[in-house]
């Protein structure tokens, strides 16, 4: 059985106090508690501080381009469905540069867990507004305030994601549980993680979140399979911010609908050029 120590990675280059540490620790804890070994998982990340997470733990790693982690994750998952594929993004990566991939990956329901470190700011480029910055957020590139944010939770619910959750980097125990739930889910799961940025976001701080976040599982009568209720919770952002599993549905995954995979992972299938001979006869 792998331990937390087995999931140690290379030295970390994040700012002290960064919300990413809470996410990293939650990821390690979830993987250990799920009994997974590093070689069984594939971590595919994009670019941004979140994109470095795979290097700071252990696993197979494909650290891809800005905005693109879902696409190589999809290719790898189809090639070898035995891999547990976890894609890791930030808010700029997932909802800005990678917006189109985000929509269509949910629609197709690829069996991938998507962890989005959402700090509502571009931190790696030192403090510009992101797609999830609160409306009016003033930065050097948005001197008149940012436009209203995208709502990733609502987008995910209406776009066909089969598990939609929100976590908070300041609550490792709760977050680790959500990561476990997401990884165990068959189909596409979005876990948007509220992540304080101590260097560039002085609005959405640890204190700001602590005063607002609450856990949906403690809400009597909340049913995450009820789409209307889920959409109402997706709209809730202000005095109270819901965390936990917001929406869940059952639907066939993309992989389950690929006949070729019924013969086993593509990567394990032998190459035999001779099989193509019959195709030549079709053209005579």
């Amino acid at each position: 059985m792998a331990t937390i120590a087995d999931y140690a990675g290379i030295p970390i280059a994040w700012c002290p106090g960064c919300g990413n540490f809470g996410i990293l620790n939650s990821v390690k804890r979830a993987l250990v508690e799920l009994g997974m070994e590093p070689h069984q998982i594939l971590l595919v990340s994009g670019i941004g501080q979140a994109g470095k997470l795979p290097h700071y733990t252990k696993g197979n790693v494909f650290n891809s381009l800005h905005g693109r982690p879902l696409s190589p994750a999809i290719g790898a998952k189809i090639a070898n469905p035995e891999l547990k594929v976890i894609a890791i993004s930030g808010d700029g990566d997932a909802y800005g540069e990678g917006g189109n991939h985000f929509l269509h990956t949910m629609r197709r329901n690829h069996d991938i867990t998507y962890l989005v470190h959402d700090n509502q700011v571009y931190a790696l480029t030192k403090g510009q507004a992101s797609p999830t910055s609160d409306a009016g957020f003033v930065t050097k590139t948005t001197p008149y305030g940012a436009a209203p944010p995208v709502n990733p939770i609502a987008l995910a619910i209406v776009s066909g994601a089969t598990l939609v959750s929100r976590g908070y980097a300041g609550d490792i125990e709760h977050l680790a549980g959500l990561i476990k739930t997401s990884i165990s889910h068959k189909g596409f799961s979005l876990l948007d993680i509220l992540q304080p940025c101590v260097s560039f976001n002085h609005k959405n701080t640890y204190n700001w979140y602590r005063e607002r976040v609450y856990k949906l599982e403690n809400e009597a009568g909340y049913d995450p399979t009820n789409k209307a209720l889920a959409l109402a919770k997706a709209e809730e952002w202000g005095e109270r911010i819901p965390t936990g599993v917001i929406y869940r549905q059952d639907r066939l995954t993309y992989d389950e609908q690929i006949p070729a995979l019924k013969m086993g992972p593509l990567v394990k299938q032998k190459i035999d050029p001779g099989l193509a001979a019959k195709l030549l006869d079709e053209l005579l």
Binding site: L42, H55, A76, Q269, G274, L275, L279, L280
Partner: protein, 570 residues
């Protein structure tokens, strides 16, 4: 080379031009003839003007010809646009009950196409099939051969039966009523069976034979039919074809699949490849094998979407920022389309890099007859793969620095070894780095792969003597037209040979400079406006060549090249 017949079928999109053209081509191919057929169509679903040309010969042909022996005109516009191309004893077949004002065109022969379709087959939708039958009647071709092709094309049942009736009606009408001096009669010459296929078919077959297991692409002319072919064969051949949301995703999916250990490809055209350039560099720095088919069409931007050009050469050679090795192959024949696709997959895995297969609309969508590929000659070379035992080594480094630049490749999940790679510059273990020394060593390692890769590239192919006055140079789809032009010029007494490049990068050093020195003059014949291959040759060899350029979106004909060379004088 003996051209027996040249048929052109013209009409609006939606009138069945393509079906008639293809069935004619197939029927003549079944009779042992060699075929070259191309299509000219507009970027629309209905209306406009489309035509399909079928050239029939008793020896191998690889280009279109100009003089039309039979013009099947499904509308009046076809007559107006193409009557000047009709040969001396040629015939225009048209519907004389629909088009009544063609007096004064001696070659026009009217057949009540639509009426016969309604009377004999029960639906005017088969007007085109009546016209097909009329063309067959005119050339007195064995109807039984065509009947079999029709049955296969329409997949049996009532639709087949009715189309056969329609064709028979057209054929009979011509036999009973045509008394002109048309004399291009054909009858089957042999039982030899050849494949009739287009460039995209040959590429798809090459990919399947090479063991491609993953295709991700976004539909775009002229490579869409590769997606369609692969999708149609996916279940049977154990491969996955994903229609991606865009070309950015398509190439990144293919790279993900390549990283995970399967042979993966994507296919697109120029502006789709613009979106893929970011991913191209990702394959470069992560050393991930991926095959990209780039079917050119005239640019820039949307350009002429359904026409042909060779205007992406310089772009494909240099696309992406930074330095990394790549290979660029450019088939010029249907055979090349197959074999160079197989080679592309081998090079991609042996050297762990992106390989481009460049075609263009003309090659991708033209049909020709060729002998069956000898599948037993397909060799699968997967390069330096680690064994399942070695894949348990916890010290495994995906980007191990080696003399050849090639690192042993493990797949994620193959064993306990972790396969780590990064779009950032990284160390041997695949983790991101910032230091100057590692950066330099990793860049050098990747570029060292070019040494081995260069040795894999075949030299250009010389057609004719190395001691000639005039050397014609080409690449890609112009090969057939250039060869035929070379033959014509030689037959007319000129001293001409031709040099043809099908493996473009790393640039084949070979004999190009020597041949250019020996020839009194040389011309690169290419379908673009600025002489991109001519420029590449000059960059790589220091030798200047003349150019014969065409960039109207239409393919070169042999005769056009002959005339252009004559115009250059001696």
């Amino acid at each position: 080379m003996n051209s027996h017949l040249n048929v052109m079928v013209g009409g609006e999109a939606g009138q069945g031009v393509q079906s008639v053209g293809f069935i004619l081509a197939k029927a003549f191919a079944r009779g042992g003839y060699h075929i070259f057929a191309d299509q000219d169509y507009e970027s629309r679903i209905r209306g406009g003007h489309n035509f399909y040309r079928v050239r029939v010969a008793d020896s191998k042909i690889a280009a279109i010809a100009e003089a039309v022996d039979v013009l099947v005109a499904l509308n009046k516009e076809t007559i107006e646009l193409h009557q000047k191309e009709v040969a001396a004893k040629g015939v225009i077949v048209f519907d004389n009950e629909k088009i009544t004002d063609v007096a004064g065109i001696p070659s026009a022969f009217g057949v009540p196409l639509e009426r016969l379709a309604v009377e004999q087959a029960g639906d005017k939708v088969m007007t085109n099939t009546v016209a097909l039958g009329a063309a067959l009647g005119l050339v007195r071709y064995d109807f039984a051969v065509s009947e079999q092709v029709l049955r296969e094309y329409f997949k049996g049942g009532d639709i087949s039966a009715n189309n056969i009736k329609a064709a028979r009606a057209g054929c009979k009408y011509v036999q009973e009523n045509y008394h002109g001096d048309f004399d291009r009669f054909l009858s089957p010459i042999s039982q030899v069976k050849r494949m009739l296929l287009n460039g995209n078919d040959a590429i798809s077959l090459g990919a399947i034979a090479a063991g491609c297991k993953f295709v991700a692409a976004y539909p775009m002319t002229p490579t869409t039919s590769i997606m369609e072919y692969m999708a149609a064969k996916a279940d049977e051949f154990g491969l996955a074809m994903v229609q991606a949301e865009d070309e950015i995703s398509a190439i990144n999916m293919a790279i993900g699949a390549g990283y995970a250990g399967v042979r993966a490809m994507t296919a697109t055209s120029g502006s789709g490849f613009c979106l893929m350039t970011e991913g191209l560099g990702l394959a470069g720095i992560t050393e991930t094998p991926v095959v990209i088919v780039e079917g050119q069409r005239p640019g820039p931007a949307v350009g002429l979407p359904t026409r042909t050009e060779q205007g992406d050469l310089q772009f494909v050679l240099y696309a992406h920022q930074g330095d990394f090795p790549r290979a660029v192959l450019a088939p010029g024949t249907f055979e090349d389309c197959f074999w160079l696709t197989v080679k592309a997959f081998n090079l991609a895995e042996k050297y762990q890099l992106p390989v481009l297969v460049m075609t263009d609309h003309h090659l991708a969508s033209s049909y020709g007859t060729i002998e069956k590929f000898d599948i037993s000659k397909v060799a699968i070379e997967r390069g330096l793969l680690v064994s399942d035992k070695e894949a348990n080594d916890s010290a495994y480094k995906r980007h191990l620095i080696t003399e050849s630049g090639i690192s042993p490749r493990a797949f994620p999940g193959q064993g306990k070894a972790l396969v780590v790679t990064d779009a950032d510059e990284h160390d041997e273990a695949g983790h991101l780095i910032e230091d100057a020394d590692t950066r330099t060593r990793m860049m050098d390692k990747r570029l060292r792969k070019l040494t081995g890769l260069s040795k894999e590239i075949s030299p250009p192919e010389l057609y004719g003597s190395a001691e000639t006055d005039t050397l014609l140079i080409g690449w890609g789809s112009t090969r057939g037209a250039i060869r035929e032009a070379t033959d014509i010029l030689c037959q007319e007494g000129s001293s001409v040979s031709s040099l043809y490049l099908s493996e473009l990068w790393p640039f084949p050093s070979g004999n190009i400079a020597g041949l250019l020195d020996k020839a009194k003059r040389s011309f690169v014949i290419e379908s673009n406006a600025t002489g991109q291959m001519s420029r590449l040759i000059r960059t790589e060899t220091g030798k200047k060549t003349g150019t014969i350029l065409k960039y109207d979106g239409r393919p070169f004909t042999p005769n056009e090249i002959v005339q252009a060379i004559k115009k250059e004088g001696r």
